[in-house]
Each structure stands twice: as structure tokens, then as C-alpha cells.
């Protein structure tokens, strides 16, 4: 396209320098550039330190490596020549622009010193504040490269400055393949995620570690040779936190984004394979062996990933009664599964009626979260089922229940039984048989079960010993309300009650004394 122009003039270079000095948002990002240069120079360790030069009244940032160093040729044609980097296309190197070094001028240094040696040469390149430099031949040979940046600063500000430098290095270099030390202390951290369960997978040139996570705050990180390229929250794969390091990944000019080219897409395919294919199976195998709550939380996230669930549906991982195990497919019934905290009588009775009962540790058990994530809403056994346990009827109450049964015959009631109180159940309910579990929403049957001591049962029992017919009628009114039997049965009840009273007059009592308002 445009034709080559004349060589750049000195003002032009100066202007370009002005422009490039502020290439990064954070001035201290120059540390990252120096560490990157050291890595590309083949060092096996980078030492960074910050100290204060009291004599000169400035802070000194020093970056030392044991890399291959520079000779005059490299100093003139790569270090001090903008955009002249020869690393482009070399996957063993990270840098490629040739402008990283000038970022040291972003902190407005009083001087920058580069001591370096290579092939018998030993050089000090002394940069002035106006960015001109002196080439100084050193008397002593030097191994590797040492860069010192002198920044005007009072002693009192050194502590914060040092802390900022350390934080900057930790952010960019914590997963570096070589040891990076700050004031002698290694900063390197394992290449892993902050998650209890994580899965590692590697292909030549690329390594990933993935973990299920909260979809909103899922973490992602891209690294080249361990150097941070780009990381943040809000992963491109929702619900998957991951870190990927690959020698093929590249960054933009200002290092604030990873370049989304073909290599990026390849790396993401490796991440997807690890996350969506390999990890779920691995996780389910672990679930079967160690019931760690954290693994269940991870499984809850995994179940929400698109396309993963069908492959895991048949694996039995949910504990049931009597050491049985259910898979998700087993639990995928019309109403969904039930759960219980122990193998109690109700759970067993419900299971005998065909209910799938999952054993959990409590209502906050992550197994329930996992079920929800798989589209299965589990309710506690007691929420769906109840077990009527019969209580003996005191002989003096038998006439009352017999009378009640006779009054309610019109509703299809054949027997009346007394049962133990059940929380959340109407005071009267229809059942098929005592001792069997019944669904709360489908309680049907010819037996009327009355809960002892609840509602009208107790006071009516007392009254029933005096006048069974009257007590049974009042109790039947309450039962009709509980059974939602409608208004039609009201007239019928009164007619039956009066009819029975006519046919078999109850024991006469003295007329009620004149009652007064209590």
C-alpha cells in the first residue's frame, strides 16, 4: 500500500517515544516488560528488588537476570530501536513489539541503567531523563543483565511504592515458568484455581486447569509461559473457571487483551474439551467414591452446562435407602425425587410406595443443589408423604367414632380411625390404610383418619362421652370443612344426625344450666 518513506528524523523518534512511554494504563507495568525481556533472554531466575538510595534521594528498582545478555549490536538494533523486535513468530519468546523497554520512562526516572554482557563484551547503557543514553564499556565482565531504574522519591513513600511494585509483579508473573523473586522472596504460585475441585488437562504446548464455578463470577486467565496475558471475572464459558497457558497465545499492544486469533481458538477448544467432556466424568467418578460436599457443589454447576447432563444421567451417585444408589435418570419422575435425612420409618414407607428417596445431610446439603441444577426439584419426604400411625381408641370414645362414621357414610367413609398428629396435615384426612405412606396431595380412601388431640378431636371426645350424637355432628362439620366436601353434605349431615337421634335417642342429660358469657 503506502510507499516507504525516508528514515525517521530525530524529532519524529522523540515524538514516537513520547507516545509509547504511556502505552500502558499502569505506569508500573514496566516491571512486567522487564521480566518478559528476561524470560525471552533465557534466564532461569529473575530477581526484582526495591531499595532507597539515601544519598541521591531516590528509589531504585532493580531487575536482574542470568539470561544471554546483550552486545553492542543488540543494544543498538533491538533495545534502543523502536519496533525492531525479532521475536515475532518465535513461539519460545513472548515479546514481539520491541517497545516494552521504553515503558520504564513512564515512572519519569532520573536515570535508567542497563548493565549487560555477552560474547566477552560488558556494557552499561545509561539512559538520561531526556531518553538519550551513554554507552559505557565496563571494565569487569558481567553475566546476564541488570536494569536499575532511579525514581525520585522520599524515603517515606518507599514502602507504598515497594508494595505496589510487588502487587504488580504478583499480578503479571505469579505463574512464571522461571522463579521470580521480589526482595529475595519467590512470588511464584502454583498454576491452579482457587477451587476445591479442579481438573487439569494438557496437550503439547498448552495446559489448562478448569473448575466449575458460579456463572457470574467465574474466573478466566490466559498465560504465555506463565506470564499473565489477560485475566478477569466473567468467563467466556459461563460457569467454568479456567486458566490456560500456551506458548501460542499472544497479547495486544497494551497487554490488556489476549489476541483472539486462530491460536486463541485452539486453546479455547482445549479448555472446552477439558471442561465439558473430561472433567464431568472425572467428577462423577469422584462423587461415587468420596461424598465431599464441595464436590457436590461443583457437580451442581456442572449439571447446568449445556450438553453435559445427558452423558451423566445414568451414573448412580445419589445415595438411597439400604445402600442403594440412584442416577439422575432414576430420579427423573413426574413429581421429582424426595429426600430424607435418615432412613426412618416414613422414608421406608414412602419407598415402599415407589417413591425415590435420596439420603441427604440436611436441607442445605449440596446434593439438593445438584438436583436442582439438573432440573429436579426435591422435596423432603415429610413434605410429600405422611404415615398415618394408628392410635388405640379409648373405649369410651368408640361410640363417638361409630356415630361419626354413620353420619359421614354419605361421603363414602367406611371406617374412622384415630392417628398420631402429623404436622401440616388437615385435622381429618382420607386414607387407604393405616401404616402405609400416603401422598399429602392425593390422600384418598374409605378410611377417615382423625389426628388425635388436634382441632375438634380432643374437645369433641370429651363431649362425645356425654352425647355422642351431638359431638359426632359437630366433629363431622369440621371434617367436612377439612375434606372440602362442599355445602351439599351440610343438609345431609343435619338430616342424618336428627334421624339417628330420633331412632336411638342418646342418654338424656340435664338441660344445660343457663350459660353465661365467659
Amino acid at each position: 500500500m503506502p510507499a516507504p518513506s525516508t528514515p525517521p528524523s530525530a524529532p519524529e523518534v522523540s515524538a514516537a517515544l513520547d507516545l509509547l512511554v504511556e502505552q500502558f494504563s499502569q505506569p508500573l507495568a514496566f516491571l512486567r516488560e522487564l521480566v518478559q525481556n528476561s524470560l525471552d533472554a533465557g534466564t532461569n531466575r529473575v530477581d526484582v528488588s526495591v531499595h532507597h538510595d539515601a544519598g541521591q534521594g531516590c528509589a531504585v528498582v532493580e531487575v536482574v537476570d542470568t539470561g544471554e545478555g546483550m552486545d553492542r549490536e543488540i543494544i543498538d538494533h533491538q533495545l534502543t530501536r523502536l519496533f525492531a523486535s525479532s521475536k515475532e513468530g518465535d513461539f519460545t519468546k513472548i515479546g514481539k513489539f520491541g517497545i516494552g523497554f521504553v515503558s520504564v520512562f513512564a515512572v519519569k526516572p532520573r536515570a535508567v541503567v542497563v548493565d549487560t554482557g555477552r560474547a566477552g563484551q560488558a556494557w552499561r547503557v545509561l539512559f538520561h531523563p531526556d531518553r538519550t543514553f551513554d554507552r559505557i564499556v565496563l571494565d569487569e565482565p558481567i553475566d546476564g543483565t541488570r536494569v536499575r531504574v532511579y525514581v525520585d522519591m522520599p524515603r517515606s513513600a518507599l514502602s507504598k511504592f515497594s508494595r505496589d511494585c510487588r502487587d504488580t509483579l504478583v499480578f503479571w508473573c505469579r505463574h512464571c515458568e522461571v522463579e521470580v523473586c521480589f526482595d529475595g522472596v519467590p512470588l511464584n504460585q502454583p498454576f491452579s484455581l482457587e477451587a476445591t475441585y479442579q481438573f487439569r488437562h494438557a496437550v503439547p504446548g498448552t495446559e489448562v486447569v478448569v473448575a466449575p464455578s458460579d456463572p457470574v463470577n467465574s474466573f478466566f486467565g490466559f498465560y504465555n509461559r506463565g506470564l499473565t496475558l489477560f485475566e478477569g471475572r466473567g468467563s467466556p464459558l459461563p460457569g467454568v473457571s479456567f486458566k490456560v497457558r500456551s506458548r501460542y497465545l499472544e497479547h495486544t499492544l497494551t497487554r490488556d487483551q489476549v489476541l483472539q486469533d486462530e491460536n486463541y481458538r485452539k486453546a479455547m477448544r482445549v479448555v472446552e474439551e477439558a471442561a465439558f467432556i473430561r472433567m464431568p466424568r472425572h467428577l462423577m467418578d469422584h462423587l461415587g467414591q468420596t461424598p465431599d460436599p464441595e464436590l457436590w457443589k461443583a457437580a451442581a454447576n456442572v449439571f447446568q452446562w449445556p450438553g453435559v447432563l445427558p452423558r451423566l444421567e445414568r451414573i448412580p451417585v445419589f445415595d438411597g435407602l439400604d445402600s442403594s444408589r440412584f442416577s439422575l435418570r432414576d430420579l427423573r419422575t413426574r413429581e421429582g425425587p424426595c429426600h430424607s435425612m435418615e432412613e426412618d420409618e416414613l422414608a421406608r414407607a414412602a419407598a415402599a410406595e415407589g417413591e425415590k428417596v435420596v439420603l441427604v445431610q440436611g436441607e442445605t446439603d449440596p446434593r439438593l443443589e445438584a438436583l436442582r441444577a439438573a432440573g429436579l426439584v426435591s422435596v423432603s419426604v415429610a413434605q410429600r408423604w405422611f404415615l398415618p400411625r394408628e392410635l388405640p381408641v379409648p373405649p369410651q370414645d368408640e361410640p363417638l367414632l361409630e356415630e361419626l362414621r354413620a353420619l359421614l357414610e354419605g361421603l363414602g367413609i367406611r371406617e374412622v380411625r384415630l392417628i398420631e398428629p402429623v404436622a401440616g396435615l388437615p385435622r381429618a384426612v382420607r386414607i387407604r390404610a393405616v401404616g402405609r405412606a400416603h401422598r399429602r396431595d392425593q390422600a384418598q380412601g374409605p378410611i377417615l383418619a382423625l389426628q388425635a388431640g388436634r382441632g375438634l378431636s380432643e374437645p369433641c371426645a370429651s363431649l362425645g362421652r356425654l352425647d355422642p350424637n351431638l359431638a359426632a355432628f359437630l366433629l363431622a362439620r369440621g371434617v367436612v370443612l377439612d375434606l372440602d366436601a362442599g355445602a351439599a353434605s351440610g343438609a345431609d349431615l343435619l338430616e342424618r344426625a336428627v334421624q339417628r337421634r330420633r331412632e336411638a335417642p342418646p342418654r338424656r342429660f340435664p338441660a344445660p344450666t343457663r350459660r353465661k358469657r365467659r
Binding site: M1, P2, A3, P7, E12, V13, A15, A16, D18, L19, L20, E22, F24, S25, P27, C58, R81, L82, F83, K96, G98, R110, A111, L126, T132, F133, R135, V137, T252, L253, Q257, P310, R311, E313, G455, L456, P459, S462, L463, L466, D467, L470, F473, L474, R477, V480, L481, A487, A488, G490, A491, L494, V498, R501, R502, P506, F509, P510, P512, R517
Partner: protein, 1429 residues
Amino acid sequence: MSLLDELRQAGRLDSRGLFTLDRARARQKMARFQLTDPRRYVLELVEAAVVLGAEALDLEFGKTLEVRFGGQPLPAEGLAALDDHLLTAPTRPVERALRALAMACAALESLQVKRVRLESPSGFWLERTREGESSGLGDFADHRLLVEGAGPGRSRVWPEEAVLAGEARYAPIPIRVGGRDLRLPPDLRGLGPVRSLPAEGGPRFRAVVARDGEASTLTLVSRGVVVGRRSPALSVPLQAVAWHDDLGRNASHSDVVEDHRLRALLEDLSGFGSWCAEALAVSLKTGELGEEAEESRNLLVHLALVWKGSLPDSFEAAPLLQDHLGAPLSLAELQAQLQSLGQVPVCWEAPQASELGFRIVRLRSPEELRLLRLRFGEAVQDAGERVLHVMRRRSHRQRWERSPRPATLPPGEWILRRSLPEPPGEVGLSPQDTDVGSLLHVLYRGRLLESRELPTPLSYVAVLDFQDLEIEEDWSAASDTESFRRVLERLDRHGEGLYEELARRGGPWTPAESSHLDLAFEMWAERGRVPPEPLLSLPWFPEMREGMVSLARLVSRKTVFLVDPDDVDLPFDLPGPVWPDGAFVRADSLARRVLEAILPGRVAPAALELARLNELAVRFRTRRQPVLPESGDLLVQVEIESGSVRGQLGLVAGAQTGILHLLREGVFLQTRTLTPSGPPFEAVVECPRLQPSQDWKAIQTDQAWSEVLSFVREAETRAGALLAWSWHQGCLPVQARTAVQLALRTWPDLAEEAAAAPLFLSAEGLVSLDRLRRALEQGEDLLTVRDRDLEPVPGKLVLPESECALVRQLLPQARFTSARPWLDTQRARAEFLLRPLHPLHLSGRSLVCRTLRPPLEGEVALVEAGGGEVQVLLEGRLLQTLPRVLPPAVRVVVQAPQVQPDARYRQVLQDEAWQELLGSLAEEVGLLAGELLDGLPKPGSDEARALLSLLAWPVLPEPVRGLLEEAPLLQVLPDQALGLAEVRRRMGRKPFLLVSPRFGLPRDGRLVVQADADLQLVLRAVLKRNCRDDSENLARDAQYLTHLKKASRLPRRLSGCLLVLAVEGASLTGEIGFPARARRGSLVALRQGMPLGQLEMPHHLSQAILEGSFRLDAGGALLPLTRDQRRELREHQVRLYGLLAQRHPDLSGRDREQAREALLAFALEERSALGGRSPAGEVLERILALPLVEVVGGRQVSLAALLAEDQARGRLACVSRKPLWNWPNQEEILPILPVGSPVRELCTRLLGRGHLEEVSSPGLGQVLTGALQAANRSRTAASAWWGSTLERLGERLNAPVLRDSSERKAGAAATEVESGNPEADLLKALRREFALVARGRVRKRGSRRLETLDWGLRPLGPPVWISQRVFLNRAHATVRWIRDHFVEDPALVSLLLAHVVGLLNEADDAVDDPDEREFLQELVRDLHGSFAE
């Protein structure tokens, strides 16, 4: 020396240099890497237009992109060298524009566009194509950029539009795309109005205070483009946009540089935030915030808490708080109240009082409390105490005002009473009140202020009336002032005077007086005063040895021992010196208190002294010889005899200590426990020189005791030697072994005497010291184990750990090793050998099976599924089953010589031999697969699946793998057999689809392999491709389709109905009809015109096709109707039946019969609604009037006519089938009521069973006669009342017929109801019962109903019914029975009332089921309480 000079010292200056630039590479790299997204070049165009001062930027996105903007013309020379500006730091607007355009062009270059043309009003144009760059001159009105070849691609939308909409939305000039301005006002959502701060030349802000809990968000705009987004930590959280053209930007123009410019901006923003917060506070005060007020208030409270410095006035005046009445309250108002109240009262729950005279802050959050504490410090106090004080004071004062009382004791019987002068009052002793503690009624100005109990041991009652009295602030009592205390002291003296007067008066005293005197005695004793003379010398106290004594006599004794009344007598036979100096008094509680008070420190309980005396008495009565008792535990025994000391010592087994019994002249003195030197012993010694202690329970440790002790120690040594010798001789029992070991430990020299005797316990039994020595000499280690685990190990000597200490002492050279590993392995093997023998054959069905080749033994088989395991045998027994070692289609049972178990015989050792065995098994599987492959299994068969599953096994031999991949084992749809290798080739890089065999239909031409789940896993593992299982979706679709298919056969319009109504309900629309033939109703549910399914019709017979929000389950099946839907449907049914009743006379034939039965069934079901104004009631009225009942003679009569018949005759005669002859009596209706018919059921319900009299053929004549007679009687009775009423009845069908006295006189037929009294009494009883029991809403809504309750006559109807009023239907049998019998059976009233309230619940929306339940409970409780048990 300067820093630079110092740094130069390190070497020799070679030369000076400058940075250089590789321009070509710079352009190349800038083009590719500078922008994070090359499409952001449009933002650079925006920047260029803004800095040039253009009025707008116009973009046209088509096949090409054309951008136009005005402004200062770009100079030709600048455009000519455009790329030079890529690397310049611009200062002037034109330079900035040129650099922006340069960056844009460079980015376009990386997009590989065909042509870029740039024109300037300066007359210069520049064009770049892939071939090169050209320029020239022209005449142009605006700047124009033309881009060709950067189209949007397949998406058809230029990404640049989205970039502009997102990042240039806050530009200062219009950004128009196709004439539409993309800009939007900042979408700031927070509290209060958005506020702006226009600036002159500096940054400009637009912001709103963020909601509580939200972080600040800041959008930074520079030169028309968003250059960064931040969440800065500001003192006031803001949602803000800031415009600042001088912000530094990074090289990619994607973010700002964090330099001094940004810091300055943030500081400005903080100031702006404070201003916004203050403005928000002002808005809160002026009430402008509306719904946001509460949230704003919370935020301002929070801000006030973290505000630096003093709070601004706007915050002080803003109503940040709320008082206890809910009114707003500001800090300034609280400050003003603090001046007068002295505190800031706060509360969490508003107090129930309103008139308090001050305002309380009602706290709603902990932050409010923190704010108040921060602002007012310790002045913030809980208001509860203050409110309580105000309320209490008010209550006490009212109580005082209502309690006038005279200053005298109440009249009645008093032992003594005296008037008191000042303050006036009276004091007295009451014969009823003799408890400890006196009572004073304090009057203030003639009214009772308090009644207080006085803390005195006396029991008098006093009343005092004070004219001047200091009263507690809350008016609860008199203040405890000095003057009041003096009055109380005076009163106490007056009270004491009463008692002295009573004592001096002398006896005899009444029981009440004695009780008072007891108190006085105690009082005097406590106060250390001598009681009056008559009481002092009375013989009041019983001494056990002297009899009754006076208080004066007891004062002379040293100690008074108090003996409980129940204690035994003293041992009077003991010698004198043993007795203590004291008196033993049997004392009750009063005597005890008096003596303890009068003789302090000299009174003691006698229990200890009594026990000592009794025990001494026993010992003196029994004396003994110094001889050891004969016992089986005694091992050896020696004599002790020296002078006057004599006795015996024996070593014993089973003891721990030495026991020594000491005697003096045969009297047992003491048993002492000694630490034995060797084995435990027991001894008895008699020594007359031993001195007993004073209490005869021990001896004194003097010379005699030392002598005795030395004799005992000497005897112990003799006994030890005797023990060792006896053990050696074998004349001791085994139990003595422990004692012998103890002896040897104490006296090791004795060991040799017993060396040959077996002494030490081992796993092989007892072994001697010599045996251990021999083992050590042979270099053998001694194994040790815990005592409880002692078990022999062949060839080893195993000792329990308890034996080791003595062995170490006697044989210091002994070495010990733990026996645990030997024992564990030994036990594991023993357990293993107990396992049953396991066959070397595989059980169950297999596809193919073969015997393993030697040296292996066993079998390998291919199975359909459930395999993968290896059963490893050892010595013919199953050692371990290893799951998932093999592919799921392979099972193996193997016994191999090289397999080794672990130490516990539970697992196979995973060593090299095991790996070798796995390799051998792989070969065997390969051979087996080859055999199966020779049979050419069909694709999809079990054999094929099993073979394919082998492919997932990584150790499968490669030749076999190749064979399997080539074999056509896969079933590919529609009907093709392919090998895996072929599938792989055809598939290429495309993904393919797997479906399960059930739903195997190729859908879009992709390669479809039928595979079950297991096979899918195998294929995924082998192919490593994108395989998808669509079976789930297909299954769900199929299930849903089944429902839809079934539903599609349902009708969409009603047919075969007698009548059809359109339904336009709240949630249901469609049609409802009455079926002409069908006996069962049905409801077809529609959604958007499509049938969803069919439900059984609830309530009444009808058919409907309705559209509505019907619920479906996950599989598409229709769920039952909701309660609301059922109710709505019932309303439509009632309408339908109303219409049916209207049309009924026009119907004929089967239609008429069908309608008749349905109407009767409707009436039976809904009879409770009769007479009501509900729609159902109105329909029922119509039904009653319809001629639905056939009577003898063929006529059809209405139900109303039947009731009238019953009323007239007292019964209703009926027949079940048509008689063969006509009914002679035309005046009596004789309806045909077939048994089981709805009309019969209805009549039975309404009239009562007793009123239905069936006339059967044999008795027809007889019944006929009776009926005729009844008719004659009734004709007379009805002549006045019924004669005309029958005619009027039809007219007045819709209103109750109220009877008055004139009507009652009309005829004899009215006698049944005319009495009046029973009916009125029943009404009265019902109302009274209701008034007694009903509460809450039932009472509120039912009172009026019960007040207007009356009697009515209806041709038909339930016992009671509700219209606007409630009526008791005297025509109904049940009601009549109640009316006639409720006097002798009052429970009938409760029955009827409960039913009435039930109807009230049905008819009145304000009364609900819980109300009725509450009423029933109250009724039951009331009834139970009213019946005598």
C-alpha cells in the same frame, strides 16, 4: 556528584546515543496490534471529527462505508504523510485528528479492505488500495472517508454500528447512521434526580447517587469516545459519566492512563458526589423523592455514618429518622428535644402509648442506632424504661385516687388493738394472722397509697394516714425517707408493746395468742433481750438425762446438744469419762431457734456425738485374740512374738496393700493400711502399751507403735523367703504367681531359689526363668504383644507385655520385638482359608468363552454388559474381584502362579507380576475377539457391541484393534453396516450424530449411528469427536406428540347437545352444553384452539369445550382443574341449568326425560341454596315449579305441589310404579316415586323418611281408605288456610310465607305449627346459643341473620335457607322434629345452630372455613362445660 556522573564512573564512556525507529515494522505492528479490535477504527473517526470541531458525523453503512464530517479542514501536507502521525505525540487539534485518522487507516489495513479513500475540504484526497497509495486534488465540501471491502460478512450488520452505539453514545456531536442519531442520554439509575455539573473548560460530570449497596460506576469520555470504565471507591457512591478531553490514554486507546490527570478527576468527582448527597438530603426533606424516599433515607443514614467532618446542615435537617408514631424526624429536631429531655430515647418496637409528651426514635436498622450514638453519644437511651415509668406512674396515681379508706383497722375480732396519735392510725394483733411479718396500710390524705409488709419477726397489722409524705416518683409507694423510717420504728415499738402486754397478762393463752407469743419469744431471743419473767423460769426444754429443764438451767452447761425428736436413746451403760460435758435436749424448731439465739456458739447437733458413743459401746462389749482369720487367700503365714507384742502376719493373694489390725487388751483400736515391701499382707498385733486417742478411734504414734511396726517389717521378709521356697516346691496355687513375682521384684536374690519353676506367662504357657535364659543364649528374640492379644507364633516365644518388666529386671540382656505383624498375617491367612472354594469357570450367560492357556488357569468371556471385572483366585479361593480393569464386555476368572496377595490377604499385590498377568489377559481377549469376529456378527447385535466396546481398552493388542476397526460392526442409518475405520473416513472433520436405536431416524443427512449409551461412550473415547445423543429430546418429543395426537382426535365443537351456551368467563372461554344422550359429562381443554386433553366434568352433568390456562405436567398430560377454574365452571353450569329449566316444558321424549333427571339431580345436590339469591337458588326455584313428577293418573306435578300435599295431609303417600287402575281420590296427589330415583331421594331428603308412605298394591284398598279419611280431615283443616293457600302458593313461590296469629286461627291444620310458643322458643334458644358462643367474624356477620331469623313455609326446601334472611322451614321433617323436641333434648338447638353457621359460611364471602372451625370449637367447649358430668 550527580547521580549520572556517579553512574558513569563504572567504566569508560564509549559514545552517546539516541533511540531510533524502525518505521516499516512500526506501521506493520501498529496496524495489527494497536487496537484491541480493528473495528474500533470508527471511534478514531469520531475523535477526529470532534477535535476538528465538526457539527456532526454521518455514516452510511451499505456495501461500502461512507463517513462524512465537517470541521476545520485537514491540511494537504498532513494527509500526504498520514502514516507519519502514527508515531507522533500530537498537541494541536489538527494533529490529533491526523493521528486518529492514521490509526483508523492502519486498522483498516489489517482488515484487508479493498480501498480506502479520504477527502478533505482543503481540496486534497488520498486513496489506498491493495496495490498502493495515490493522492490528488479536488473540490470537497466535507471530510469524507470511503471504505470498500470491509463489509459485515454473513451477519449483515456492520460490527462498527455496535461499537459506535456502545462507545460513542456520549459524543458531543451527533453521530448519525443513516440519518439516525446513535447518541443516547446517559442511562443513570440511582436515587433522586440526575445532577450535572457544567464546567468551564474542565471536566464535566453527570451523575446520580447510586442505590444503597451498589458500587460507584464511572464512565470516562474523552473526545467523544468512551475511554474507560471504572468502579472507583468514592465517599458517596455515584453512577456517573465524566467528559474530560485531556485524559491520557494507553497505546490501544482502550483505557486511560492512571496518572495525575485521572487522580485529579476522581478528586473533583468526590466533591461532586458530596454535593449530590447534600442535594439528595434536601430533596428528602422537601418530599420530592416519592417512592425512592425510603431507600434514599437509608442511603443518607449510611452516608452520614461515614461522612468525614461535621455533618452538613442539609443532613441535619433531613428527616432521616422516624418517631414512634411514624412521623419523620430529623437530627436537628432530636437535638432540640435533647436540650429539654436530657436524652435521646430510642426503641425498636413502637410503644402502645401515644400521649407521652416527647418523641421516641423508632429504630429500623442498626445503622440508625450507630448514627445516633455517633451524633449524640451516651445520650441515646432505650425508651422502654422511660415509657414504662410514665405508664406506671399514671396507673399508680389512678389507683390511689380510687382508694379512699379510714385510718382505722377494719372492725372484727382482734386480740389487742391500740390507736396511734401521729400520724393518726391504729395497730393491732389479729387472731387470724400469726405468720412472721407485719402488714402496714399506708394512707396518704385519706386514700390507700400502698400496703407493705414490714420486715419484722412480729405479726401485727397497722394503718397510718399521712398528710405529708414523700412519695416515689412513680406513685407506687412512699419514699424511704428518714422521717418515714422513724415512723416505722415507732410503729414497731408500738407493736412490740402489744406483745409484752400479752405476755404479762399471763396464761392461759389461746392457740392464736400462743402462736403470737412464740414469735415474741423468737424476737426477744434474736434481739438478745431477756424474755419477761413468766416465760424465763418455765421448765420449757426436755433434757434426756434430767427431764424438763428451764432456760435458766441450760445457761449453766458448756454445750447443749440438740437431739432430734426421732433420734434413739443414749447408751447409758458407758463409763463416765467417755461422756462429754453438755446437756442433750430434744428440741423442736422453735426451741432450736430460741436456744441458738440465746446461747450462740454453745449449741450443737447431737448426731455425731450420739454415733460416737454408740460405736464405743459396741467395741467395749466384744473383745478378740491376735489371730488371723482363716482364709483361702492366705499363701504363707509367720508368727510375731516378742515380749508383750504378739500376733500373726500372712501374705495374701488378690490384694494390693498391707493391712494391720491393732488390739489393746482385746479391744479393737484401729486398722491401719501400710505399703507392703513385697507382696500384700494382712497382720494382727496385740500390744497393751498402745495408747488410744481421746475419741478411741486411733492410736498415738509413740514408741510402742514404732516397735510394733519394726516387728511387722521383719515378719514380711521372712514370709517372702517362705513364699519363694514354697513356689519352688510347687505347693502354692497358680494364683500365687503374682505374689511370687512381686517378692522377686522386691528381693531379687530369691530368684535363683525359684529359677527352675515355671513362673512367666507366655503364649505356650508358663515358662521358667531358665527357659528364658536358654532362649536368649540361642540368640532368639522375645516377641511381645498386648496381654489381651496373646497368641502363639510357631517357632517364637511370645510374652505378654505385662511380663516384660520383671524379665528385664532379672535378665538385663533380653531383647524384645513386637509380635503384631506375625499375628496379623497369620490371622489374615486363616480367615482367607475359611473362604469357600471358588470355581474356575465363569457363571452366567456369555457371548463366547474360552479357557485360559497355561500356566494360567480359568476362563475369559465376552458378555453383553456388566463385565469389566477380573476375579483373581489363590489356592482355589477368590482373593479379589477387581472392577473396571477390563472393558465392560469382558469378564475373566483367573488363577495364576505369579499372583501374590498382600499381607492381609485382601488384595492382589499390584507388582510387576500383576502387570505381566494383565498383558497375558489382553492377549487372551484378543484371541477371544478373533474367534468371535470369525463368526461375522451382525451390526447392532450383542456380539458386535461387545466387540466394539473392546476398542476403548488402551491395552488391546494393535492387530486385534485393526481387525475390529475394519469389521463392519456399526449400524448406520438407514440400513448400512460399516466398520469404524470407514465411519472415521467418511466423517472427516464433520461431527456426526448418535441416536439410540429406539429413535433412530436420520434427520438432516448427517451420519447417524445407532448406538446405545455404552456404545456411545466407546465411540466418543475412540473417535474423540463431537458426538451428540439426541435420544432425550426425541423421547420427550415423542411423548408430547403422543399426547397431542390423542388430543387431536378430540372434538373442537360441541355436538349432540340439547342446548349450548357460550362461555365468556374470567379465565375460561368456549362452549358448555347439556348432552342429549350422554350420561357422563366431559370437558375438552383447549389452548390456542388446539385440544390439550379431556377431563371428567365436575359438579353437574354437562359437556364443555373450553379455552383457558389449563395446567400440563412435564409430559404434556392435562392436570386437574384448579379450584378457581372449578368455581368458574360451576357458575356456567348453573346458568346452563337455568336455561335447561326454562326450556324443559318445550322438550319431549327422551330429551325431556334426560333433562328431568338432570334437573332433579341438580336440585338434590344444590338444595342448600334454595331460597337464596344466588344464581343456583334462582334456578332451583324454577325447578321446583316444573312438573317433574309423574303421579297416578299420568299427570305431571311439581315438587312444590308435593310439599303442599305433605303439608296438607301430614304425609305423602306414593307408589313405586304405575298402578293398573286410576286413583279414585282426585284430591290426593299420589306421585310415582320409583325406588332409587332422584325424585324419591329428593323427597326423602326434604320431607323426611317418615313422611313418605309407599302404597303397595296388596294394601291399596286399606291405604286408600286411610288416605280418604285423612283427606276428609285435611279438607276441613285446609278450608280456611290451605284452600286458598294452595292457589297462592304458586304465586308466592319466591317469597316465604310468614305466619301470623290470624293465619294460625284459620284452621285445624295449622295446629301443627300454630302453637307459636315452641317456634318462638326455638328461635330464642338459637339466638341465645349463638350469642353465647359466636365470636369474631361469625358473630359480626351472623348477628343480623340470627336477629331476623324466623319461620317460613316453602313448598320444598332444606331445613333452613338463606336469602337476605334466614328462615326455618316448618315444612321440613327434620326442622319440625327439632321444633317439637328441643325442650326435652336441648342438644338439637346446637345441631341446628351449627348447621346455620355452616350455611353462613357458604353464603357469606366474609366468613371463611377457619371462622366456622373457631365457632365449632367454641361451641364444643361451651357445650362440654354446660353439661354436668
